[in-house]
Symmetry: C2
Subunit: 404 residues, 2 copies
């Protein structure tokens, strides 16, 4: 018999609480081996500051409500453990000892994998045996090895439908009003979520016309030429832009561009910068959408596969611990795309910590502003929801009436 | 037997195409009296430029697809007819005569009611008998007489769930990250949609903590004190702000504030201005969401009552024409809130044109930054969707698990 603890870390996802509920449910089923189930408030900080709650007795109704809940029910943190911060490790050790906790489940992204990985210091410093299992989640989808990170599919769906609906609106309006729309999308270093804007794009006229990925150097002149091309050809131009696109010097456009023609600092992210650039150079009326937190908290639009995968990694994490595995994270391997089939495998935390997986070259077209069929095929099963729209195609894209 | 024409005007709503489909369906049912059904492309511009499509034979499947479609299927316009622009009225007259059209249905907001109303000039100038029926739609919800404008309920739902989800995210994150979130909401002169952010707010700790309405003068010092109060009391502060809030001089804050401390012009709307104000004065990390078009194109989240009302006004418009009514618009009268009951009545276009209905005084609390129970009771039936969340309360608010 041993006690376990669960904690959430980093940015939220629409389905992280599904991993929590699934982990708790699985641990409860193994009450012959797992005694107490604890949660740390605000991730590793709860362990450092001894803010611990006993969640052993949560009822099935409560677990269902947890699955229905946006955000992270136990609170999260952005906190990087230092290699040699003995004092902090001692505080964590004291909490673990106090509650006789022998196993930590840490639910997070790259930084959180780093935290999980560093917790092995506890054994080194205090000779305290500790099982440490990571659980993946991040809307950035940038963890290595895994086919997908739970949380990404729902955020990808949010971006896909946002692009489709706002573009259809623009198309209706563009004759006498706005000519260009920009959606600024999260993912500072990897373009997965920005690419999701194009999951349903089959032809040039489909939106987004221009998809600006952080993997591709931003070229202002080429960009403005493209905006002009699409506006003149179709009457409007739709743009998806990653918050993290960089210019030729490797600087974030969001930073480098936030200086106006007089050298004065400007407010806002890359979306509003590009909007200003287009308005001042091409004189096109431009609207900029910044979903920000909305794209990562959109539990109401969570896709079935995302919920399933979030639960699967929570369940597998407990099973790994019971199987005697340590310092691993459950990851998703795609076995088939249509129908979507997967299996869960364990990968060592040390191989995951601080590694960011970017969009591979074959997912980005030569032109640099569109994604390839390979990328769309990768994305499709994750945004699919059979019950999303009354009329939708095989990719889950709502079918719209088109005149003529 | 007579021919009719339908046109869409002004900003889009999530359900305007439901009005279109319902109108066409109703007209088809009266094929004994209505001969041809036409649509003008891009509103009144289609009539001026003779860009007309025959939609008499649209199938039931096509009408269902139209209902499934975001944006405005026939395109829209922002175009104000001048009182004495004889040449333009003559162009419209020529198109009407060419297609033998005796009845115009104009689907729009305040400006569109103005356009519909001015079309009676056609009779005056050319002695051409014309029935002119307006059909209400606007996410701003600012048309007089009607209890609600079709389109508003779905956008209100979008704002309500966006506020709930982003606030829950912030609450999870605020210990070590962002302290303040701002959602910038459409509605330049009337605070209906901004108020919808608070439809589910029952107590002070519920979000939004601060709701900034265009009906209330913005006071910078009072605002900053409030932000500080909520951040210190709850660890975070959530803000809903109308794009149209004004300062003591009656200037839009979005304009007046877009000058930095050096007097240099800044980019962005009021959300980013307030974000900058908070960051520079209180040093709180702040995130700003700007849904922009997303809040008015969100067909995927359309509420059942909104779809029903959009269809009802489309249907009634045709029936008014058949009953010999002219220069009227179908409007919604609430008969009961729980269960929601309504009836449709006709109101003269001249009484609607260019009149904006603002939030009444009794919908805004004395403190100026919260809405009253009367306002929430008004809003509730419109955002309600019985099938929205697996667990939700009687107001349609998703039920979240809360750790004691």
């Amino acid at each position: 018999m041993f006690n376990i603890i669960y904690a959430q870390s980093g940015g939220m996802t629409p389905v992280i609480n599904n991993s929590a509920a699934s982990l708790i449910r699985t641990a409860q089923k193994h009450s012959d081996r797992i005694n107490k189930i604890y949660a740390a408030k605000n991730g590793i900080i709860g362990l450092i500051e001894n803010r611990i709650v006993d969640i052993t007795k949560l009822s099935e109704k409560e677990l269902s409500l947890i699955e229905n809940t946006s955000g992270g029910i136990f609170g999260t943190c952005r906190y990087k453990l230092k290699e040699d911060d003995y004092e902090t490790y001692e505080k964590i050790y004291n909490t673990l000892k106090k509650y006789d906790i022998k196993c930590i489940f840490y639910n997070g992204g790259n930084d959180s994998a780093d935290t999980s990985n560093k917790l092995c210091k506890i054994k080194e410093y205090f000779d305290y045996d500790l099982i440490c299992i990571g659980i993946p989640k991040t809307i950035d989808n940038d963890l290595p090895f895994t086919d997908v990170c739970p949380g990404f599919p729902s955020s990808a769906k949010y971006i896909a439908i946002s692009m489709l609906e706002s573009s259809t609106d623009l198309k209706s309006m563009c004759l006498t009003s706005t000519k260009v729309t920009i959606i600024e999308i999260m993912g500072r270093h990897a373009g997965w979520l920005t690419a999701a804007s194009s999951v349903w794009k089959k032809k040039e006229s489909d939106s987004p016309h221009i998809c600006l990925l952080p993997e591709i150097e931003f070229n202002e002149n080429k960009f403005l030429e493209l905006v002009k091309y699409f506006k003149e050809k179709y009457g409007y131009c739709t743009i998806a832009v990653s918050e993290g696109i960089k210019d030729g010097s490797g600087d974030f456009v969001a930073n480098s561009k936030n200086v106006d023609s007089f050298g004065h600092k400007q407010l806002g992210g890359v979306g509003i910068q590009l909007s200003n650039l287009i308005t001042t150079t091409l004189q096109y009326k431009c609207h900029c959408m910044v979903p920000d937190y909305l794209q990562r908290s959109c539990t109401h639009i969570a896709t079935p596969i995302d919920i399933e995968l979030a639960k699967a990694v929570g369940r597998n994490a407990v099973e790994y611990a019971l199987d005697g595995k340590n310092n691993v994270m459950p990851m998703i391997v795609r076995k088939n795309s249509t129908p979507f089939e997967y299996e869960i495998v364990d990968v060592e935390l040390s191989k995951i910590a601080n590694v960011e997986k970017k969009l591979p070259d074959n997912y980005i077209k030569e032109n640099g502003y569109e994604i390839t069929k390979e990328c769309r095929d990768y994305l499709k099963p994750y945004v699919f929801d059979a019950n999303f729209s009354l009329y939708q195609d095989e990719d889950g894209k709502p079918i719209y009436f088109e005149l003529d």
